[in-house]
């Protein structure tokens, strides 16, 4: 078990989400940066679907109540075990009463904590991913007890040689395919889309990221149609919105681009004020 002393800014349990329930209007959910979440799981020899803690910007303080192995990937939030700094992307053994805390955000925006066997929190509709009105909680809170299984081995594992690809943090380019309504854009709009940088506004969360720059736009809403994480919408008021993992299943704004999966991970590690560029994939 893991006891939550402080929850951090926005810390949730995430796995790879609820694939297959979108017909009931359920978001897919799941880790925002799936690369980092899966990397941490892989280093522990976990199943890729095992649940991890997604830690946003400011980390929690956690006390372990049993032996286990942990691995932290993604953003660098200066993790410390008791009072010692620990490395990212490294398997670390913890014992009862060890305290894990986080400090300064050095790079990235979301960090992932995996434990051996994954977090054993409640499963709702085949996933542990926290979401309002589906799971009991929508984020972890102080004094929560997060179930994990005791794991007593300390042997190094076969994936120790895996190398983390840090391009996730250095890249400011979002690769995207044309969306279904791309051809409705005027040449001037297309030009603006690919030859400018876009700054992430403070409206960014697990549902969507909005950009500050506005488009001249006369495109009307469309008849409500399906959307996916990574769908880039252009609203009638000229706002560019990238839908993220907790997005609705349908929407009525023109879908001008669809991000490559890897670009959803890149965007998940960015925060308010950072600027990015879109690159069209054929």
């Amino acid at each position: 078990m893991v006891k939550v002393i402080k929850p951090g800014f926005y810390t949730t349990i995430q796995d790879l989400g609820r694939f297959g329930y979108q017909d009931y209007g359920l978001p897919v959910s799941g880790a925002m940066d799936q690369y980092s979440a899966q990397f941490a799981n892989a280093l522990l020899n976990n199943n890729e679907h095992d649940a991890v803690l997604e830690i946003t910007m400011t980390g929690p303080t956690l006390v372990f109540k049993c032996h286990t192995l942990i691995c932290i990937s993604g953003a660098d939030l200066s993790p410390k075990l008791n009072d010692l700094c620990i490395k990212l992307n490294t398997v670390i053994a913890v014992k009862p009463n060890d305290m894990l805390s986080f400090g300064k955000l050095n790079y990235g925006f979301r960090s992932y904590l995996a434990v051996s066997g994954g977090f054993q929190t409640e499963i709702k509709l085949k996933s542990r991913s926290m979401y309002k009105n589906i799971t009991t909680k929508l984020k972890i809170e102080a004094n929560d007890h997060l179930m994990i299984n005791e794991f007593n081995q300390t042997k190094t594992n076969k994936h120790a040689a895996l190398k983390y690809n840090s391009e996730l943090f250095s890249s400011n380019v979002l690769d995207a395919y044309k969306g279904p309504e791309f051809e409705l854009l005027s040449p001037a709009q297309q030009n603006q889309l690919f030859n400018n940088k876009f700054t992430i506004s403070n409206l960014n969360n697990r549902m969507a990221y909005q950009f500050s720059e506005l488009f001249e736009n006369s495109l009307k809403p469309i008849i409500t149609t399906p959307v996916l994480p990574g769908t880039v919408q252009l609203t009638p008021s000229g706002n560019l919105i990238v839908l993220m993992r907790d997005c609705q299943t349908t929407g009525g704004y023109p879908r001008i681009l669809q991000l490559k999966e890897a670009s959803i991970n890149i965007l998940s590690q960015k925060m308010t004020g950072q600027a990015l560029q879109f690159k069209l994939l054929e």
Binding site: G20, D23, Y24, G25, L26, Y177, T225, P226, T249, E261
Partner: protein, 244 residues
């Protein structure tokens, strides 16, 4: 059977979008849902996800598509050889709704601006048999077609921050029920005590695309009684099988 010629477009690395003519029509819905069933039957051993809406299907595979043309060809041949399969039984659900002033926050305004009495609005709203086009927006939110034109009413210019779970509302040419508390800009004319989304069930919504829905006016006393039964998990909603 081949009245429509859907178009096929890649949508990112793992999905294909199939689109019908851009209008809201029951004939299109039938074709969309029928094709969806045929696709689901074809891919029965494979993990795929299909989102359907008024006039489109979005098929997402659990792998990156290698050859988009091959996948589209598979879908096209499935479409041209599709059978009218009837696996799901379609139902008409009788959904209890209390239109009492306690819940109907905007009924007064609607009545005044539409120059229709409250009871006339309730009658028009509850006489109609609506078609469930799809579920979207929120878990368990039914997109219903068939609202009487005389009840069309624009969304509020400023949405409410908190709309009560079960609120029955009108927004533009649509009507619907908020399955959970949420913000929203539709005009509230009543409340239903039943649960539209239950995450503890493997099939979390009672209704599905293609079903029909009718609202049945109830008193506030009946509302309280049904609420108790719903809470105890013993409420049985009235419904009947309809021929698709």
């Amino acid at each position: 059977m081949d009245a429509f010629q859907p178009t096929y477009k890649p949508y990112g690395e793992r999905s294909i979008l199939v689109e019908w003519p851009q209008e809201i029509h029951e004939n299109i819905l039938q074709d969309v849902l029928n094709f969806k069933l045929n696709i689901q039957n074809h891919f029965i051993k494979q993990k795929i996800q299909i989102i359907s809406a008024y006039n489109s299907l979005l098929i997402t595979y659990d792998y990156t598509i290698d050859n988009i043309n091959d996948e589209i060809l598979t879908l096209k041949s499935l479409y041209s050889s599709r059978k009218v399969t009837k696996i799901h039984t379609l139902r008409l659900w009788k959904i209890p709704v209390c239109y009492d002033d306690e819940f109907a926050l905007d009924l007064e305004e609607l009545s005044f601006k539409k120059k229709l009495s409250k009871s006339k609005i309730i009658k028009l709203h509850s006489d109609t048999i609506y078609t469930v086009y799809f579920i979207g927006f929120l878990p368990g939110f039914l997109y219903l077609g068939g609202l009487d034109e005389s009840l069309y009413f624009p969304r509020k210019s400023t949405p409410r921050q908190h709309i009560k779970k079960g609120a029955v509302a009108i927004g533009g040419n649509q009507t619907g029920v908020y399955p959970n508390e949420s913000p929203g800009g539709w005009n509230i004319i009543g409340n239903s005590p039943i649960s539209f989304f239950d995450p503890s069930k493997d099939i979390p919504c009672f209704a599905k695309a293609g079903d029909k829905v009718q609202f049945v006016p109830i008193t506030i006393e009946e509302y309280d009684d049904i609420s108790v039964l719903v809470k105890e998990g013993v409420y049985q909603m009235e419904s009947e099988v309809i021929d698709g």
